[in-house]
Symmetry: C2
Subunit: 405 residues, 2 copies
Amino acid sequence: MAVKGNIIIGQSGGPTAVINSSLAGAIKAARDAGVKKIYGMHYGIEGFLHEDILDLKQIVKNDEDISLLRRTPSAFLGSCRYKLPAIDGNEDVYEKIFSILEKYDIQYFLYNGGNDSMDTVKMLSDYAAAHGKTQKFMGIPKTIDNDLPVTDHCPGFGSAAKYIATSLKEIIADAECYGPYRKSVLIAEIMGRHAGWLTAAAALTDKVDLIYLPEVSFDPDDFVKRVKELSEKQSSIVVAVSEGIKLADGRFVCELENADTKKDAFGHTQLSGVGKYLAALVSEKAGVKARSVEFSTLQRCASHVVSETDSNEAFNVGYLAAKSAIEGSSGEMITIDVVSRAPYVANYSKFDIHEVANVERKVPMDWIINDGTYVSDEFIAYARPLITGELNAFYSDGVPVHLSL
Amino acid sequence: MAVKGNIIIGQSGGPTAVINSSLAGAIKAARDAGVKKIYGMHYGIEGFLHEDILDLKQIVKNDEDISLLRRTPSAFLGSCRYKLPAIDGNEDVYEKIFSILEKYDIQYFLYNGGNDSMDTVKMLSDYAAAHGKTQKFMGIPKTIDNDLPVTDHCPGFGSAAKYIATSLKEIIADAECYGPYRKSVLIAEIMGRHAGWLTAAAALTDKVDLIYLPEVSFDPDDFVKRVKELSEKQSSIVVAVSEGIKLADGRFVCELENADTKKDAFGHTQLSGVGKYLAALVSEKAGVKARSVEFSTLQRCASHVVSETDSNEAFNVGYLAAKSAIEGSSGEMITIDVVSRAPYVANYSKFDIHEVANVERKVPMDWIINDGTYVSDEFIAYARPLITGELNAFYSDGVPVHLSL
């Protein structure tokens, strides 16, 4: 198929440890297809609206750069949390976007992100279809939350899960080091607003006693009772908890004593503090010293502990999005289809963006066991292959080397 | 020199990522010397007093186990925070210890820890000298805080510093990802009660704007002023702060709004929360959104990011402590003497434990620059070699493999 113009790639939403592998894949595909200009949106669609556009052939020059890019954390191009307005009444915004595309002769538009970012792809491809525009728009899945529908899983999840399992294993060993002489409760707070996939990853390491996902409502009294019972049998207790757990009445647990709660640009409540709150609760009501650990942004940017499987899949979805756009696809997201989990075999396909945008996929209720306090072996079988293999970082002078703009 | 009896090794205080390399070194030396029984204290001197003693030849059987032990986080034998009482009036405690040593025919006693643990070595060797006991007592230095005197640096510091530099580099990239569209202040809270060595390690990565050590008093108004000024010039601001910073009047900053502050068994105040406190202060007074990250116990147990230099030195001090004890030394700690920093060359010697126990070494005042808000190139030259090289973890099923008891 003949290449009809230039390509642009944007990164959007919270970064993952492998979002730049998708960028690397897209760049590689565009090169392989002989696309003349490969552009990057500097800070996603928000920067694009300011015509802040990077010439990626000048920045990612060769295979060595590609290799380094795959080991670079955060969004290499810069990201944004910008939601396109409804088309009706905001045609000027869309016309501006298309005029910039035309100015740079951009025929292929790739956007790498989660639910909100897929909405951007949907809106633009809808607008193009309704207004006789020829540009192609493809979505590349990405989110540590693993909550995009249709695809078996999302690139970014595997590496975040590997980070959680690795770090948790280490801090559990640390917490256990005083043995019977100092009982301890370790509460690990893990990201995931409405979907508990990443919190469930705590089960990929041994010795986690209780796992609380946002899919089921949280009962503080039952929690304290369980910790008390465990503390009579063992000296170290480990709890993994999602930042987004809620009481039966719908209130976020972290809001109970956290006055800081704010909302972000998408109207999401910003969550933090549930770990500290539960640690204080346990110390007071169960009489056992508790410590909370918040993995914070480390869980989404630790490029020094990347899953090789995840990195390769991220590269492939990026590659295929570019290839598909060049071949004429639009309004679709690349998906990963797992043919077999053991041995692990994955294929790729595409899916209508309308089925994907703004839909959140949660952990199946029948994978959540022990009265909502643990996850089943089905989850382990699902997630284990995704964290397997290591993409080693390149170090210089003792710290990892990254590609920079 | 003829071996006169058995050897015992104990681990004490907070773990480091390489404390088990010292254990591995001591085991290797005892094996090389042909010591019949190699014992481990299960939970340090506290477990020893309960005669909780491990037979290490049964547990660490071969070179493969030694290799795995060096990649195992936390204190493999279990640790304690137990301070021996004054000898006067507590002779029964000391007699109990020596009776257990005699029962197991232990002639060589090695203790691996920081200031408080070296006090244990001092007390026991003093007691032995005063009461005609023949056992030898040697200290093995260990602390992420790097605050033991005499030795150039302490095993454990290099790996913790490498973890800080690596993780900080990643979370800074993450914090910068929205660029000019979302100004951000990142406040990283780092361990170190009274000595700022580990917080200073933030300077080993680029892009840290302000570094606050506990060696100098902290002025909140000046801090807010500096953040405000920086926010006019740049969109991302990074601050590294020690958990132990104090106001000019001596109060810990974290105590200003932190009701949780408790004391540990040594009477130290347990610090946490200064990062959250400063983030709230900046958000309110400088009008810039701030996020705090607490590295918590990860900074002392991340065995998946270990400095090879540090791991080798930890092994060597363990080896030499055992060798020195067997050769007749007692009441000393092994020290590291750096002959040249570039190229890096280190030798080892021994030093009187009385000069070491309970003494804290701080960052030299002339290495703290910019009115107490950064560290000099002397610190970089000092610390850089200590974080160099990587001891790669062994992974299986996507998570690191550790040796377990």
